[in-house]
């Protein structure tokens, strides 16, 4: 199954987001070895050079390390993973508020709607 990618955003940026998500959600745990660029590219159905670029970006952020002999591994820095999680959450919330405000809701209304939805989830 190819990864679900949007048509209007750069592919590499979306790959970065998806892999971040896989790490934050524990699909790849701290210290885990990642599949090779080619394997990941085939899994996502994207160009290997684009996947390489996404992994390089994650390396710069410190979320991924390159081992000389054993390929790439997820960082063992749990604090960094937690920070990434908070960052992602902030972004989602920002986007959510943006969309809700477009629909004409005030901040108080949005919060009360969220509370209501959370009640129903239970």
């Amino acid at each position: 199954m190819a990864w679900n990618l949007d048509a209007d955003k750069p592919i590499y940026a979306q790959l970065v987001e998806i892999i971040q998500m896989q790490i934050v959600s524990g699909q790849y745990k701290a210290g885990d070895r990642l599949p090779s660029v080619r394997e990941l590219a085939a899994e996502a159905s994207v160009n290997p050079n684009t996947m390489q670029k996404a992994l390089a970006e994650l390396e710069r952020n410190g979320l991924i390390n390159t081992q000389r002999t054993s390929g790439r591994t997820v960082t063992e820095d749990n604090e960094l993973i937690r920070q990434t999680r908070t960052q992602l959450a902030d972004e989602y919330i920002k986007n959510f508020f943006l969309m809700m405000k477009k629909l004409g809701y005030s901040e108080e209304e949005i919060i009360s709607l969220i509370k209501h939805a959370a009640e129903e989830e239970k």
Binding site: D8, A42, V46, N47, N49, T50
Partner: protein, 232 residues
């Protein structure tokens, strides 16, 4: 490292028609490049010249530093727009045929791909559907360990599931020294696997950009960009 292919001032005239008009192009190694353009924009003429099937009216083509000929054909795997295989031949005989013809042909890879796509080895080509014939031809071309793969409309008649398989095969098979140049109108299906796209209009190169560059600059997919640029 030297470019894989280099085109300079390439021009082709048919009678009164200027099919390819002063094209300059460098194809680096290790890239998957889409050749996109409306019907009649010169894509197939360009491809035929690169494969030595048409002589340029003016300009030069160098592949691995050589003009198209016997030496480049040993290094270029070409999928033409129309099939040239004998309808009466069996699939396995055609594989043998390619084995004899091309030193870089990987027989095992061909049979693996044939069985993954459930194509019967002993079936005569004429008993296969149009789409299956296309798959056979593409498998033969992709089973070579060539430097340059030139594919003219490779997935047009192939069903979506097989298309995914073929794209995955392209991703996993090519190496950093080889490149793939493919022409297609099915941009949405292939744009995620491309490094770069070349847009041609009226025999000229309109743009040569990375896929993510188009998405970043214009905020739209290559498919949407194409529809906008070439809107009728």
């Amino acid at each position: 490292m030297e470019a894989l292919a280099e085109l300079r001032g390439l021009t082709k005239v048919f009678g009164n028609t200027l099919a390819v008009n002063n094209m300059n192009l460098i194809i680096p190694r290790g890239k998957i490049i889409g050749l996109l353009g409306p019907n009649g924009s010169g894509k197939t003429t360009l491809i035929k010249m690169m494969n030595g099937l048409l002589m340029p009216t003016a300009g030069t083509i160098l592949i691995n530093g050589q003009t198209p000929g016997v030496a480049t054909k040993a290094k270029v795997a070409y999928l033409p727009e129309r099939t040239y295989l004998q309808n009466g031949m069996k699939v396995c005989d055609i594989v043998d045929f390619f084995c004899d013809f091309y030193e870089d042909f990987d027989r095992e890879r061909a049979f693996t791909m044939l069985s993954n796509l459930a194509i019967p080895f002993t079936a005569p080509l004429k008993t296969l559907s149009k789409g299956t014939k296309e798959k056979v031809q593409l498998i033969l071309v992709m089973s070579r360990r060539a430097d340059l793969y030139i594919l003219d409309e490779p997935i047009a008649g192939v069903d979506p599931a097989a298309r995914d398989y073929i794209l995955r095969t392209i991703i996993t098979n090519y190496n950093e020294n080889s490149s793939i140049l493919l022409s297609t109108h099915l941009i949405t299906d292939i744009e995620n696997i491309l490094d770069e796209v070349i847009l041609v209009r009226s025999g000229q190169i309109l743009a040569h950009m990375e896929v993510d560059q188009i998405r970043t600059e214009y905020g739209q997919s290559v498919d949407a960009y194409f529809r906008r640029v070439f809107a009728c």
